[in-house]
């Protein structure tokens, strides 16, 4: 893909750093807001900064996940291959925001609610996962995301072999559905946000489904890859 030296230079020195900083931007913004809050300055976290933090990290993780799922369709439609070079970066960013989302929930909710006890927080986590459907869904989505993050590196890809690697990384589809359901089951009443995320996800999944059907038709003997 990056055999062309111009493209390799462009990718390494422009596209990848640009993607990195764009993906880091929400996190940097949040870190800055918390710095302002804790030093008594003006901040945009509102009157319930912990709630704002949960929503912000969760929304960011889901949105970046959706963007990562849009990379392949964008490549197919624009026929501009280099966009694939930042796909891993985008997927990993979704993982980091999901991890921060869970750490914030552990630290700012469970740990504080348990009177600053780590064992109390873990007991609370287990109780939440067992009893609260939206947390069960969200946690499952995250657990499925972890092996994808771990196997995202070149060495792991080679070790697994591309077929197994691709098979494993198809987990992104069910986990994206779980993440959107987690959001939908969390909000009160019938709210707009989860429907928007769900609608975009449905389009992206429909694109894969269309591809599978098309491939199955063009080569009836071979199984769709």
């Amino acid at each position: 893909m990056a055999r062309n030296p111009v493209l390799r230079t462009f990718s390494r020195h422009i596209m990848k750093p640009l993607a990195f900083w764009l993906l880091a931007l929400p996190g940097l913004w949040l870190a800055w807001q918390w710095t302002m809050l804790l030093t008594g300055g003006n901040h945009d976290l509102g009157f319930n900064p912990i709630e704002t933090t949960h929503r912000f990290l969760g929304d960011t993780a889901i949105r970046i996940l959706l963007v990562s799922l849009a990379v392949t369709p964008v490549r197919d439609i624009t026929r501009w291959g280099p966009v694939m070079m930042i796909r891993r970066r985008i997927g990993l960013a979704a993982f980091w925001y999901a991890l921060l989302h869970i750490l914030a929930y552990l630290g700012l909710d469970l740990f504080l609610a348990a009177g600053m006890s780590v064992s109390g927080a873990l007991a609370g986590l287990w109780r939440d996962v067992a009893e609260r459907i939206y947390i069960t869904l969200g946690m499952t989505a995250f657990v499925l995301l972890v092996p994808l993050a771990i196997t995202s590196f070149n060495r792991m890809q080679r070790w697994l072999g591309s077929r197994r690697w691709q098979g494993l990384h198809r987990l992104v589809y069910p986990l994206a559905i779980l993440a959107v359901l987690h959001h939908g089951f969390m909000v009160k009443g019938n709210q707009f946000g989860p429907w928007i995320h769900g609608g975009i996800l449905a389009l992206l999944l429909a694109y894969r489904l269309a591809g599978m059907i098309a491939r199955a038709r063009s080569q009836p003997s071979a199984s769709a890859s």
Binding site: N48, I50, G124, I133
Partner: protein, 327 residues
């Protein structure tokens, strides 16, 4: 030990001249001689006289209200005004916490009428001035516990609900009372999306409505209620989750059967009719054992109390009831 710490914006108790007295300062100066002789008793007389300066049948639509303080207060620090008026659930203006403050200015609150229907001798359409006696307002500092596990302490200004309801002379068939929020798709942009089955409705059992704590607020922090807090008139039932305290009321119905309530209709297993604050009954999706305190230290939490700390005044109404079943 509870140590009260005033924040810079707070000028509490001793510093504040009772609003009635302040508004009436010219009269007090004029009658200074008599006042000097009568001392404290004179002050009280002046205060009650001040309350009469607002003529019956009139109501201020902005700014300060005259009211008298009451014994209904709590020791905890009051939630700062910007938080009380900037962090709201009023889905008719959007589901974001800052949506109500941003968009509720579009709502017309003057004139305001309330339709009274059902089992009562006096029914019909009344203007708000005829429902709430603006010359007899009082202040009550109540806790507010949202079902989303956060809480505030708010100084409301208004009148006891019992007093208002009694004036309509409900009959013995009136076993429940239902309230309804205004619905105007042009002025309330959040209602264009069906988050809930609009209009918003809430209800109380008659004895709950007549309880001494049930309050009809027309102001907070001594001033006319901002639109985002449910102007011009809202319910305040501090022992129940916040959503029971219905905002911007346009209808009061005296009914014989337990009335429908919006959140119960939306998710019956999550929101019951009673919705009493109960740390032992978890919301299916989150614990209700403790709550985030809004407006102070960002990490502040407190343990949630049964009936939000008002068991003494309300627990007797639920004697013998299974409060997990009847959540």
């Amino acid at each position: 030990m509870f140590i009260r710490k005033n924040r810079p914006w707070q000028s509490r108790e001793t510093e504040i001249t009772p609003k009635g007295l302040f508004l009436n300062r010219r009269k007090i100066i004029a009658s200074g001689g008599a006042l000097a002789l009568s001392g404290l008793a004179g002050c009280e007389a002046q205060t009650s006289q001040a309350a009469q300066t607002v003529a019956a049948g009139a109501r201020p639509t902005s700014g300060a209200l005259s009211y008298t303080p009451t014994r209904y207060t709590v020791a905890d620090e009051q939630t700062p005004y910007p938080a009380v008026t900037g962090y709201n659930n009023f889905y008719e203006f959007g589901v974001g916490k800052d949506d109500p403050a941003r968009y509720s200015d579009a709502m017309t609150t003057d004139p305001w009428t309330i339709g009274v229907e059902g089992h009562a001798d006096r029914t019909g359409v009344f203007s708000l001035e005829d429902v709430v006696d603006f010359s007899a307002l009082e202040e009550r500092i109540y806790r507010l516990r949202c079902v989303e596990a956060w809480s505030m302490v708010i100084p409301w200004v208004g009148v006891p609900l019992a007093q208002v309801l009694a004036a309509f002379q409900p009959t013995s068939d009136a076993r429940y009372v239902q309230f309804e929020t205004r619905l105007d798709r042009d002025e309330m942009r959040g209602t264009r999306f069906r988050v809930l089955d609009w209009p918003y409705v809430e209800g109380l059992r008659m004895d709950e409505a007549m309880n001494e704590l049930a309050f009809l607020a027309v102001g907070l922090y001594g001033e006319v209620l901002p639109n985002q807090n449910g102007a011009p008139v809202r319910l305040v039932v501090p022992w129940k989750y916040g959503y029971k305290s219905i905002k911007s009321i346009v209808k009061i119905r005296f009914v014989s059967e337990q009335p429908e309530t919006s959140w119960n209709r939306s998710a019956p297993h999550e929101y019951g009719f009673y919705s009493n604050v109960n740390p032992n009954r978890a919301h299916p999706r989150w614990s209700q054992a403790s709550e985030r305190v809004i407006g102070g230290n960002v990490f502040a939490r407190r343990d949630t109390e049964m009936f939000n700390g008002y068991a003494e005044q309300v627990a007797h109404m639920y004697a013998g009831m299974d409060l997990i079943e009847n959540h």
